[in-house]
């Protein structure tokens, strides 16, 4: 048996510390140092977690699609690609959910309502439910290769929703604002420390995603290995015996 080091390495531990420090910095900048918005007042502070959350989800689903494409391409049929895809998909679902909830709370304060069926919110809800379905499809059973094949196909279809979500505010009439940074005019519409706080949030959440995905895909590697040797069920049984 290996030493009980879990899924961590010295590199992930260093990355974890960096992420914690950056998130602390984000909290200071977002909640304390950055100024209020002239129209929205202090409610703008929700933006510093809402936008990085959906950004992280986009990255996660992008990685899911890339890994799925590599797996399906046949050049490298390693199941590691499938595990990276699954881990990223799971983390993406978490961050879309966070984005929907924080956006809803922000919407209550600025729009005056928690939810509307406009293009951005509706397409984001559809994105969320698609990837919940993706995670469920991964759990349907069969061999690891069957799981990898069917979920890779689904991931390549689901990624087509990302441009639909991002450009929904320009394609259709929406209550949701247009992008303040990545907009078609290429004009940044945020003042000094507001822009810095948002940028810090994007970097911190991206590094948090990298840390999470490394740990999760390693745990998935162990799950697959245990599933192969039927040990998972035995461990559960032993744990139940110990608890009884």
């Amino acid at each position: 048996m290996a030493r009980q080091s879990g899924t961590g390495t010295s590199a992930t531990r260093r990355l974890g510390i960096l992420v914690i420090l950056m998130l602390a910095g984000l909290a200071l900048c977002g909640l304390w140092f950055s100024a209020e918005d002239v129209v929205q007042g202090s409610t703008v502070r929700i933006m510093y977690i809402h936008v990085p959350s959906i950004w992280t989800a986009y990255i996660a689903f992008g990685l899911t699609a890339v890994c799925s494409a590599v797996y399906l391409s046949g050049k490298n049929r390693s199941l590691a690609w499938d595990r990276f895809a699954g881990a990223a998909g799971e983390i993406g679902v978490l961050f879309v959910a966070v984005s929907l909830v924080t956006g809803s709370m922000w919407g209550r304060l600025t729009w005056g309502t928690y939810w509307v069926w406009d293009a951005r919110l509706t397409s984001t809800a559809f994105l969320f439910i698609t990837y919940v379905g993706y995670l469920a499809v991964r759990q349907l059973g069969g061999t690891h290769r069957q799981r990898a094949r069917r979920s890779s196909v689904l991931a390549l279809l689901a990624i087509l929703e990302i441009p639909l979500v991002h450009f929904s505010v320009t394609l259709w009439r929406s209550l949701h604002q247009e992008a303040s940074v990545a907009n078609p005019n290429a004009k940044v519409a945020l003042d000094g420390l507001m822009l810095f706080s948002l940028f810090l949030g994007l970097v911190a959440f991206t590094l948090l995603f990298v840390w999470l995905v490394l740990h999760r895909q390693r745990a998935m590697m162990l799950e697959d290995a245990f599933s192969d040797r039927g040990l998972d069920l035995a461990i559960t049984a032993r744990r139940n015996e110990a608890g009884a």
Partner: protein
């Protein structure tokens, strides 16, 4: 701060959600690693 409950609530909810998931991932990894061979953990 005006609307403090909504602002801190949204930050808190985000922090708790991510922290709960991160702790679950770490604990799951540690639990599985206890019974894994070195060959099954190529990162060690």
């Amino acid at each position: 701060m005006k609307h403090a409950s909504f602002i801190f609530g949204s930050w808190g909810l985000t922090a708790v959600s991510v922290a709960v998931y991160a702790v679950w991932v770490i604990r799951r990894g540690r639990e599985l690693a206890k019974h894994a061979t070195r060959e099954e953990m190529p990162w060690t």
